[in-house]
Point group: D2
Chain length 304, copies 4
Amino acid sequence: MTETPDFQALFDRCSNWGRWGPDDERGALNFITPAKRVQAAGLVSDGTTVSCAHPINTAPDPDNTSPALHFMVRAGDVADGQQVTSLADHLAVSPHGVAHSHLDGLCHFFWQGQTYNGRPVGVVTSLGARANAITIGQDGIVSRGVLLDVPRALGRDWLEPDHAIRIAELEQAEALGGVRVESGDILLVRTGRQARRNAQGAWDSRAALAGLHHEVAPWVHDREVALLGCDGVSDVRAHPFTVTTHPTHVLTLVAMGIQLLDNLHLEDLATACAERNRWAFLLTVAPLKLQGGTACLVNPIALF
Amino acid sequence: MTETPDFQALFDRCSNWGRWGPDDERGALNFITPAKRVQAAGLVSDGTTVSCAHPINTAPDPDNTSPALHFMVRAGDVADGQQVTSLADHLAVSPHGVAHSHLDGLCHFFWQGQTYNGRPVGVVTSLGARANAITIGQDGIVSRGVLLDVPRALGRDWLEPDHAIRIAELEQAEALGGVRVESGDILLVRTGRQARRNAQGAWDSRAALAGLHHEVAPWVHDREVALLGCDGVSDVRAHPFTVTTHPTHVLTLVAMGIQLLDNLHLEDLATACAERNRWAFLLTVAPLKLQGGTACLVNPIALF
Amino acid sequence: MTETPDFQALFDRCSNWGRWGPDDERGALNFITPAKRVQAAGLVSDGTTVSCAHPINTAPDPDNTSPALHFMVRAGDVADGQQVTSLADHLAVSPHGVAHSHLDGLCHFFWQGQTYNGRPVGVVTSLGARANAITIGQDGIVSRGVLLDVPRALGRDWLEPDHAIRIAELEQAEALGGVRVESGDILLVRTGRQARRNAQGAWDSRAALAGLHHEVAPWVHDREVALLGCDGVSDVRAHPFTVTTHPTHVLTLVAMGIQLLDNLHLEDLATACAERNRWAFLLTVAPLKLQGGTACLVNPIALF
Amino acid sequence: MTETPDFQALFDRCSNWGRWGPDDERGALNFITPAKRVQAAGLVSDGTTVSCAHPINTAPDPDNTSPALHFMVRAGDVADGQQVTSLADHLAVSPHGVAHSHLDGLCHFFWQGQTYNGRPVGVVTSLGARANAITIGQDGIVSRGVLLDVPRALGRDWLEPDHAIRIAELEQAEALGGVRVESGDILLVRTGRQARRNAQGAWDSRAALAGLHHEVAPWVHDREVALLGCDGVSDVRAHPFTVTTHPTHVLTLVAMGIQLLDNLHLEDLATACAERNRWAFLLTVAPLKLQGGTACLVNPIALF
């Protein structure tokens, strides 16, 4: 009979609380040094850019329960005469929706009443987060990006929604790509979610979605990953824990101080990497400067 | 007595319609080649990042008539027990507002019933733009950025709101910086708007704002600028034209097919450039993939 | 073999175009005279009020694909000290959603490119409707309300979603209630949709929903109904027409100039009527004064 | 030298806490009995309806710092062919804005950390108010409405923005109208704000606005007013208190449990009353059923 793993022990194993001082809010972004950025820029060789984001999804479907709202403020139908001199639109979105490519701030999750670095959950008020907000990356998150294409490493088109990615599988992807995840890297993990959706249609990813086995968290910690992204939400469903719905979210956002890139579009990036057989690139994430925010939509751009 | 300049002649002088074929929607982004990006990445030397965006402004003031709306979906006050496992927020914005750092799509303006490359204004429907939408840069706009700091070149802290920047002043800034705007560059023009606001308080920029004299448009055309940004809106108020409220918007967006970065925050960038006496850098603009959109908020990131 | 009914003939049979002059926008609201309102007020006898609206639905479910958004602007968690002196919220809604009790304006539908009284569909611009807007009832729609409880008349708890209500069934409900729908009445038709949902769970009402058979439209016309409401959307799915998705919407909104109350909550009203064996009452609908609007949420109040 | 009045004493003098039991949330709505409604319906004599609401204001002006947002979801420009079968719109609003006619829920204000009937301010969470929400009137607030037209009673077109209405002035208006405010009435007080705005233009009403002198609160209490409305916000600016910004809001919403109708449009109502020399009428307020809400837009309808 399997015993439930001890989540608190896992949390303590991974914790970066205090690592950069009691006032730190940047968490694992501290791993990205200027030298790291220079090194990453040195990877640029052919000048191709690749987006890692989905189009903003405004259509409800089984996997988009909080569609973005996009309205025209004024369209071309009123552009006759001098009445209207420009056309404009409006966008409203709850970025955490499962269909939206977004960056999670450290305050998005909590554990035992606390957010990253021991700040009480009450710092996130109805007027916005007073600490651990999305703004820690507002000057740009720029580093070496590394894509680990797990289904490719396993010889598949995609991972099934109950697949919990193990350390060995990540290292298999590293080996295949001739790359090793190092301190300050932005790690992107492909599960092939979009490929599966294209082939089989949308499903409710809140019920079942491939992601990282909980044994991966200490590995991510030890590799000193600065930012973690996935075409899923990094968490796998289901998992053995009852004390939390999102073990990987808690271990990254709360324990390690690693922001997450959720629901990325990694198909084009995987193709670009495979074509070059090069799995590292300059990656730029440019979060909006949303003071007190818990998240924002982003369009991470890889430059080869 | 001064004669009103002939706007249509100016438009024709600058027009890129047909330059990249009748179906082209990318406009001046065509100037950014892979080789250009590689060259730009080669500028990276110390690994510092600088944001060119203002914080998202949710507070109404004389210069923010369409504040963004930022609400918490759920805050820490309901995080007790198991009821709520994460905290979340919501953002709604009409990005063209004068307080918001944003990218204008080519369909934002029109001239004589047409948008860039001769498409009728009716392509911008109440369901979104069917052409010339904000998405042309969705794979990332990455190139060499050049900052021309006009007040610095003139030995001032800022330009007064009625100041129309002339070609000679831009070239004075080039000379001072030892830089020349070339094909495929992203040109950023600083007027010192924020410095003036800090010193003298907010004013209604829709009534008065420093920007480019209309003689600059052909210069921008001939230099083959790929993207134009400003801490104002590139247009100056007032100007001599009665046929259009925004001559520079029309000449760039409609005639030349140049998207605009409006209301940038260029103070930190100007400081970073002055400290290094280097006015060129790798610049990444990562617009959200908003299909049919006329604009989106952006946070352009310079990498030195 | 059944022949498809001639929709244009039905439209012409029901049309009120020109009936109140070529400039009329009030349509069937013209049937409500001051004398009619005085008569309706005379029905008040016991002073009980009953709401005919659902709670505003913010939770996505199979029958709520466009949930309302309700956010707190500031909650009690920031009410300490003098920082915040009041608490506030924000509501955003697309009222036509199938879960929302709302009033349809005449411009919501069109037929052959025209809205009520022959106005081209182009009067509904991206800046709002220039005619046939929701505002025709902005001074209050107050008249005699009549509830026809069809499932009750048929001895059932609810009508199945494919049930097309016939004239004979409406008249059976009239007979049972000892009431007759007359000129200027607000007619409310109960299908028992909520009772079915309570018993069997939510279903996608856009696929199947009880409503009025198309033979009812001329009956509604001849009875001179001023406003039509239903716990469904008055239309039945499916129906025999291919030329329109919503025959009853087109016949009421476009041909007759009758606004519609969609997705009402009629369970409490049905109970109140049955308890009194009285099926007529003073009804007040107070639409928001939304200039150029196509619809608005409403809470119709019956007074017994 | 004037002494600052004792606000706590005033609060205690007016308090209805416990009056209807410790669990009561309806507050002064308890004064509206079925018999009261029957009496009010008996006032109907000529069948005229009058709205007491402003059009929803989407245009920023000095007195509209939080404009409503009204967008078309799809307009007539896309109605060609079978692509789109209906036209629709979207409304977003923070109802407490000073330009919006709205109903305040009891939880909108607090005093010494408590809302009406002693509930802690923490009942208003980021997920909505768990008590004292706007929904207490969701079955309709229907009673006798009484308009006291203060400027008319004083022989003026409007009250200046620093005018604090005294008891004697209200009673002068009663005498002039031959009416007396009684238990269960909905009291509407006209200051002529709109007349002044029409004549002199918009001003920032948050800085100066005519309203009730604080001596009026006990009078409102003793008359057993069920609901209080004003073309201002009932509060006067300025007032002598430093312990609260809105003494009348606190005394009504918190102490007495009286909901407020703010920013009404009372010009048409005043005209209708004057024409008939009748200052009482049937009034219906139909708040949206917004669970947990602090306010909602309303369109109160008077029936003569």
